[in-house]
Symmetry: C2
Subunit: 529 residues, 2 copies
């Protein structure tokens, strides 16, 4: 059975703190959702936000393969004619086939927030929907605060749905706007509505204020709902909307429903990453299905179990949603996973070899200093090599200097770095200018080494992350810098820790270059093996 | 009715990627949980981790008011005597009254992962528990993978519980170890177990791999469970354990249950913050109840509604869990909330005054550059003042210079800064050394100004946050720096954005000092009003 997915990242998602989409951002998100085959995309509230109206003009030029664009807005205001309502006119101006009208289904909101009578509110719902139907629209009624309304005044809440049906609404969406309802309540109330309105499609719009939006959406489906509204990565006001990237795989993999195009579930993780990146929101690493940690095993017993049979500690195969399994090295992981890493470099070393103990001790010390090798396994490889004596540095950094200055109030800030490297007895000194001392240092270091290692010309940084480890000591706190580099074919990540960000960055940069040169040699050696 | 809360932050939580607790960290967490009145604290697995055993020795010296400490471990290994099992002996050595024994309740795990017979596994459960009872322990049986086991082989899963009861287990904890079960399944299976084992207390231990751990825990309570296991802030392997900071307020505020000491719910947010800080995990801002954004309103309609009556868009009163309401300034927030800010400085300015439009435009421009005033409202106040002409800088930063160097490979990195400020025509130049250029600059700037403004002596930074805005351009990407300062009585936060971290930090530092001096004057003026 098909469950309709309705994404409101561009409308309700944009209500998130920290999110502000440009028109171009929005077009990219629409494209991603359309590619997956999400049937409905709520693209904005043209009445309340002029920027949204602009966007509806833009989107007309985009040819969509699977998705319908929905304009969202309120019922007419009280005591005026529908056609005289500016919001209603803006929704029409959006020019979409689909319209979502939200109205008040909680009597308290009618009397205390929009200050009108219960009867006038019913007219507002019915008349606004009827007007839209007469304009040739397909209308969804979003029953705002429906569950709270039902709990407070069951009779009136149902009357608002009746008004929507009389007006011609094709779908009734029951909203848990404040996110306060429990799964069993959602099930019982949705079931009751479904039994009462047998000829209309029922949907749910849940918020996560009680940590229950996903469960509530699934319970509504069990009670007969056929549409789930949410936002793809859970963006939304307060604690966010129902997270579709969790709901979709639950529906498809566990409840036997169909939501998106065949084969697209494998793109779940990459789509979520893309949308997070566009929104400039750091993805939640613990997120179900799509989080970087979702299939990461740290406990030794779990790692052993998964190695025997992955279903022992994984509820699904991570590749089904485009994710992958990771094993971590740490004290809890036990020796076996560290040993695997070591054996890649020195196959003859065993669990009980003295080297294993020495490396585990070093690992602990570095972790104590603030290092973390989870995600920076290239640096970890260098640590192992250094302790096994299987490492010869490709260069020595003799000295370096950074400067930054703004000579007077009218100038811009400029930054410079000088670096002196030594490769097999030959020194080279280079100076470079950059955006800040870290960037200048990066440029100088690579320029100095390119004479000796021309293959470094292809290397550049693609990601640079800074984590302040102890905010309490403020600007003298330790920072951990993660650098991801690429040479066009491979990516690798290295890590540096210091009280100084320049120093921490430099440590990671030096390791990054060492790794590149090491991997190139390994690659060449393979040809002779 | 009382529901027993069982916290496993120190055991299952420590399986989280990125978490590594010291003995001292653990003691602090135990203290926090005890203060709230959490009845059970699972403190480690002494058999698998020698560091945990050490901790059990330490904890004996700590006097707890409300909590019982639990040692966790496996049933004996196959084909040996209980008393000969090293893990079992380690658990005894922990010296706790309470023991949690986990065993296999999924037939597949018995045959395929620990490679024994179904009968031997039943003996392992019964004998281990009986042995512990004979040693005077109170034993909980953690039925690992119980729900998966029940779905695969109902009969065998129930037999494992029977074995635990025969051994003398006082509680049966049904685990959704892989986090793959749905709320309705959890309800039905838990109910069945409760009906079968009427004389034993039933509990649940849920994981969040499907985004359902909170809902599953609550459904188990509806089905008759009286214990919920989880971790206070949701730490745990993969997607984490059931988040107790979400479960506790749901149980107490919505389901009429009692979990923690009276009055302690108000400390929910501060306890969660404390535990996150100890674990050095950045708190999830969207977290239900305790997240910084949990009661944050951005949409104009929502802000208006909450101003009329907070229950219009809040499922609970935020103060019940120690959280508080926030309104954001942004394009979506509409003019009214920005106007409120402006009117604090210039009460005569109205919604339609030209100044309001100019400030909103500037706000947008700055947001486009990467600024974000949410959480940095002091900088926003300065922006408003500058645009209203209600601002006279307290000092001018004439020039500054930073240097960092490591003169040779055997030296440490040193950083210096020089700063020249001008206050009402008088210049002062100061140089300082620091941990990196940012710290040096911070010291030099405040030292230079203390001659003119001695009140700055009390000011110091308490938090320093760096966010790289666009990882793709790597070390030349823009960074946003947030600085929180204190003078001992007030805290305030300022923000700076630049491609260079030194420059971004300096912008925020200058604003921070300006705000301090401005607030001092405002304070003094109050005395004359």
């Amino acid at each position: 059975m098909m469950i309709e997915i309705y994404d409101s990242t561009l409308r309700d998602g944009a209500q998130s703190e920290g999110i502000s989409f440009s028109v171009n951002d929005k077009l990219k998100i629409v494209k991603a959702l359309d590619d997956m085959g999400i049937p409905f995309i709520e693209a904005g509230n043209p009445g309340s936000n002029p920027k949204d109206l602009e966007f509806f003009q833009e989107i007309k030029n985009l040819e969509l393969k699977h998705s319908a664009i929905v304009a969202f807005g309120s019922t007419r205001r009280r005591d005026i004619k529908v056609e005289e309502d500016a919001n209603v006119q803006s929704m029409l101006a959006a020019g979409t086939k689909h319209i979502a009208i939200f109205g008040k289904s909680w009597d308290f909101h009618v009397t205390d927030i929009i200050n009108t009578t219960l009867d006038e509110n019913l007219r507002m719902i019915e008349e606004t929907i009827r007007f839209m139907i007469e304009q040739g629209k397909e209308v969804t009624y979003d029953a705002e605060h429906f569950y709270d309304g039902y709990k407070n005044n069951e009779d009136y809440a149902l009357k608002t749905l009746e008004a929507a049906c009389k007006g011609g609404a094709k779908r009734l969406i029951l909203c848990d706007t404040n996110g306060g309802s429990l799964p069993s309540e959602i099930y019982n109330i949705t079931k009751k509505v479904g039994d009462t309105f047998k000829d209309t499609k029922i949907g749910i719009h849940a918020h996560n204020d009680s940590g229950l939006a996903v469960a509530n959406s699934l319970m509504a489906v069990e009670a007969g709902a056929i549409q789930i509204q949410g936002t793809f990565v859970g963006f939304g006001e307060r604690c966010g909307n129902a997270n579709l990237s969790t709901i979709i795989p639950n529906l498809e993999l566990k409840m036997g429903k169909t939501c998106i195009l065949e084969g697209e579930l494998e793109n779940l993780m990459s789509s979520a990453k893309l949308i997070s990146e566009i929104a400039n929101i750091t993805p939640d690493e613990q997120a179900p299905f799509i989080g970087r940690k979702a299939f990461t095993h740290k406990g030794g017993m779990h790692i052993d179990g998964v190695n025997k049979n992955s279903k022992s500690f994984e509820h699904i195969d991570p590749s089904l949603v485009g994710n992958s399994r990771r094993f971590l090295m740490s004290e809890v992981a036990g020796r076996s996973s560290i040993l695997k890493k070591i054996q890649k470099i020195a196959p003859d070393i065993q669990k009980d070899s003295p080297e294993t103990g020495v490396i585990m001790k070093k690992l602990k010390e570095l972790e104590h200093e603030g290092y973390q090798f989870e995600g920076a396994e290239s640096t970890f490889e260098l640590v192992i090599r250094k302790h096994l004596g299987k490492y010869k540095p490709f260069f020595e950094l003799e000295n370096f200097k950074t400067m930054g200055e703004r000579p007077d109030a009218s100038s811009l800030f400029s930054a410079y770095a000088m670096v002196k490297v030594n490769v097999e007895g030959k020194s080279k000194m280079v100076a470079a200018e950059g955006d800040g001392p870290v960037n200048a240092l990066d440029k100088a270091l690579r320029e100095a080494l390119e004479d000796f290692y021309p293959e470094l010309k292809k290397v550049h940084l693609i990601d640079y992350k800074v984590r302040v480890l102890d905010g309490k000591e403020a600007s003298a706190a330790k920072v951990r810098v993660l650098i991801t580099s690429t040479d066009g074919t491979r990516d690798w990540t290295t890590v540096g820790v210091s009280t100084d960000i320049v120093q921490a960055s430099l440590i990671a940069m030096v390791d990054s270059i060492e790794i590149k040169l090491l991997k190139d040699i390994e690659e060449k050696m393979k040809a002779y093996m």
